[in-house]
């Protein structure tokens, strides 16, 4: 029996999504492999594939999520630029090729699983806020993010108030007073303020998406 036959049989036994779906997308990976590497079950990975197909075909039907498709899903507007959505997209795009394939989508989302280790969530959030990839969150980076949030929320704050917020934050987080927040300081700061990584957990990921929409709405 050749390798392909073996794989067909194992797919049938595992009830893999790949056996049901003939049209493969670029970067598609076997749900059993992805489930073994993440907190997701095989059926949850298969359900995430359904979501992935919707997202990746919303503008260009090529089985890859482009930045505009990601923005469309988050804001229902393909042209709305958002610093934070850009950062998330860039972190999901592990291969740095400007698109998110299915493997990247599942592995990146696994950090947001309720059962993912807290340390991974803390680390992901740090990377998110380290805009210049320096291994530190610098004061000017943080200010840039605060201004982006205020702009996004249509909040107008005077420079003086923005500085007050910056001062308060650095006083609490920058323990060695060097004007930047390193990974250890960030870990310590989050342990004191757990609400900072609240958005690093998506309760939706705990329920298998093989539930029908009506069941899911009922569940929520």
């Amino acid at each position: 029996m050749n390798l392909i036959d073996c794989r067909k049989i194992s797919s049938a036994l595992m009830g893999c999504y790949c056996s049901k779906n003939t049209r493969r997308t670029p970067g598609y990976e076997d749900p059993t492999v992805l489930a073994a590497e993440t907190p997701f079950t095989v059926s949850e990975v298969e359900a995430l594939y359904e979501l992935f197909k919707k997202l990746s075909s919303s503008i260009i039907d090529d089985g890859l999520i482009h930045k505009e498709e990601f923005q469309l899903a988050l804001f229902m507007n393909r042209n709305k630029r958002n610093l934070f959505a850009d950062r998330i997209f860039d972190l999901f795009d592990v291969k740095r090729n400007g698109v998110i394939d299915f493997g990247e989508f599942v592995r990146s989302l696994s950090v947001f699983h309720p059962n993912a280790p807290v340390i991974d969530k803390i680390s992901f959030a740090f990377k998110l806020y380290d805009l210049r990839y320096t291994g530190y969150i610098a004061r000017e980076e943080l200010k840039e993010m605060v201004l982006a949030l205020l702009d996004e929320s249509d909040l107008i704050l005077s420079e003086e108030f923005v500085e007050l917020i910056m001062e308060k934050t650095f006083k609490e987080a920058d323990m060695n007073g060097d004007g930047r927040i390193d990974q250890e300081e960030w870990k310590e700061f989050v342990s004191k303020n757990p609400s900072l990584i609240k958005n690093m957990t998506l309760p939706y990921l705990k329920w298998g998406y093989n539930l029908s929409i009506s069941q899911l709405c009922n569940e929520l």
Partner: protein, 460 residues
């Protein structure tokens, strides 16, 4: 501007102080104890405080045993054992102040990275044995070694928790005897399952053997969905080492997981084992003088109350002021729930708005608007709990509300569905918004949206 108390985790509900410690969020909970994060306000050091209920301990005649174990634990100072700093008591509770570590559980590493390489597994195993050997030499046995009790500090050093407090996970039956109740017996020695009395040192070593197996294999040596089948496997030590283990590692595991405690390897023999000795550095640490005065004071039965601490709550004068990261975390771009909600037609379970009114005015206005809608309002400083009086589709609708201070003249108000039906929550806040029109701050852009939306809410 009031700053958020470190680790308070209780939002604006005020801080709780016990002695010189400010209590924060709950880290874990068991039958007899609750563990809370806390901060020493004098030294700014983070600690964990295990809180025991005196009444429960008295009821189960565990006081003398707990005193004995706490006294012994206080004397234990080892780099691989979670340190006990001090013990305090109020009229109703005992507070055990412990070292707080931030590196998570060792087994989180395996959950994310899979099995460890042999050298790394050996490094952790050596630290575990160092801790166990040291405690055994002082007559302290763990009796419940399992993954949850193996923690890592910020530098990746292994720390064993719950050493010595072996009375706590056990239950007292009507016969007045202690009986171990193992949630999962996967790590428990066969002689412990037999419940016929056992040598604590040998039983602990068996658990260490199971832990070593999991570190290197990535799965449990004994696993069965049927409890009786699992017991049989444990009694016979019916397991197979995976092929990727070195032969010396396999041999050692077989010597540790020997079902007969009489022939099982001892720690003294283990430390001389060639596989174990590779790269082994015996721990170096100083033995300091330790006072047991606080333990004696806590368990003083003379009725003297001068040593008791009081758990007191400090009320907040102003709402929680948000730091920059809390503010940023409110961005819609960081709210990946939208990926699911927009695709699956789900209704949002959280919303927020901003206001230029003073926080106490916002609280009053929300109360005024919620009561006519049939909601009971419970206030706790700058937090509100709105409870629907009518039973909805999924029980009573319950909404948690909190006011945060973004800047001295700007507040952010969050409303979150805490219970009940999501669609009912959605309808509720549409109605509530009408009553809050005059306090919601609207910028130019929001005013444009208002024509469609009714009010300047920022959904999340």
């Amino acid at each position: 501007m009031a700053s958020r108390s470190s680790g308070s985790g209780s939002g604006s509900g005020g801080k709780t102080r016990v002695g010189r410690y400010e209590l924060g969020r709950t880290l874990g909970e068991g039958t007899f104890a609750k563990v809370k994060f806390a901060r020493n306000v004098e030294s700014a050091e983070n600690v964990a405080i295990k809180i025991l209920d005196k009444e429960k301990l008295l009821k189960h005649k565990m006081i003398s045993q707990i005193k004995r174990e706490i006294s012994t634990m206080k004397l234990i100072r080892h780099p691989n054992v979670i340190r006990m700093f001090e013990v305090m008591a109020s009229k109703t509770k005992i507070y055990i102040v412990l070292e707080f570590v931030t590196g998570g559980e060792l087994f989180d590493k395996i959950a994310t990275q899979g099995r460890l390489k042999e050298d790394e597994a050996r490094k952790y195993f050596q630290q575990l044995i160092n801790a166990v050997d040291y405690c055994h030499s002082r007559g302290v046995f763990h009796r419940d070694l399992k993954p949850e009790n193996l923690l890592l500090d910020a530098n990746g050093v292994l720390k064993v928790s719950d050493f010595g407090l072996s009375a706590l996970p056990q239950q007292v039956r009507e016969d007045g005897l202690l009986h171990t109740t193992c949630g999962t017996p996967n790590y428990v020695a066969p002689e412990v399952i037999n419940n016929k009395g056992y040598d604590g040192a040998k039983a602990d070593l068996w658990s260490c053997g199971v832990i070593l197996f999991v570190l290197m294999a990535g799965y449990l040596p004994f696993e069965e969905s049927n409890l009786m089948s699992l017991y049989q496997k444990i009694f016979k030590a019916d397991f197979t080492c995976p092929s990727w283990l070195s032969s010396s590692a396999k041999k050692l595991i077989k010597r540790i997981l020997d079902p007969s405690p009489m022939t099982r390897i001892t720690i003294a023999e283990l430390i001389e084992n060639e596989w174990f000795k590779k790269g082994y550095k015996p721990p170096t640490f100083e033995q300091a003088d330790v006072s047991l005065d606080d333990v004696d004071a806590v368990f003083d039965e003379s009725g003297d109350t001068q040593n008791l601490v009081v758990e007191r709550r400090e009320e907040r004068a102003t709402p929680v002021s948000m730091n920059a990261f809390e503010l940023i975390s409110k961005s819609q771009g960081l709210n990946l729930s939208s990926l699911f909600e927009t695709q699956m037609g789900l209704v949002k379970r959280e919303t927020r708005f901003t206001s230029k009114c003073p926080a106490n005015e916002i609280i009053s206005k929300i109360e005024e608007a919620a009561v006519p809608l049939g909601f009971d309002v419970k206030k706790n400083n700058y937090k509100l709990k709105l409870q629907g009086e009518k039973t909805g589709r999924k029980g009573h609708l319950s909404i948690a509300t909190e006011v945060f201070e973004v800047a001295p003249s700007l507040c952010m108000v969050e409303l979150r569905k805490a219970g009940g039906d999501t669609l009912e929550f959605h309808n509720f806040y549409k109605n509530l918004a009408t009553g809050l029109k005059d306090i919601v701050w609207k910028s130019v852009d929001e005013t444009k949206e208002e024509a469609n939306d009714g009010v300047g809410f920022v959904s999340s």
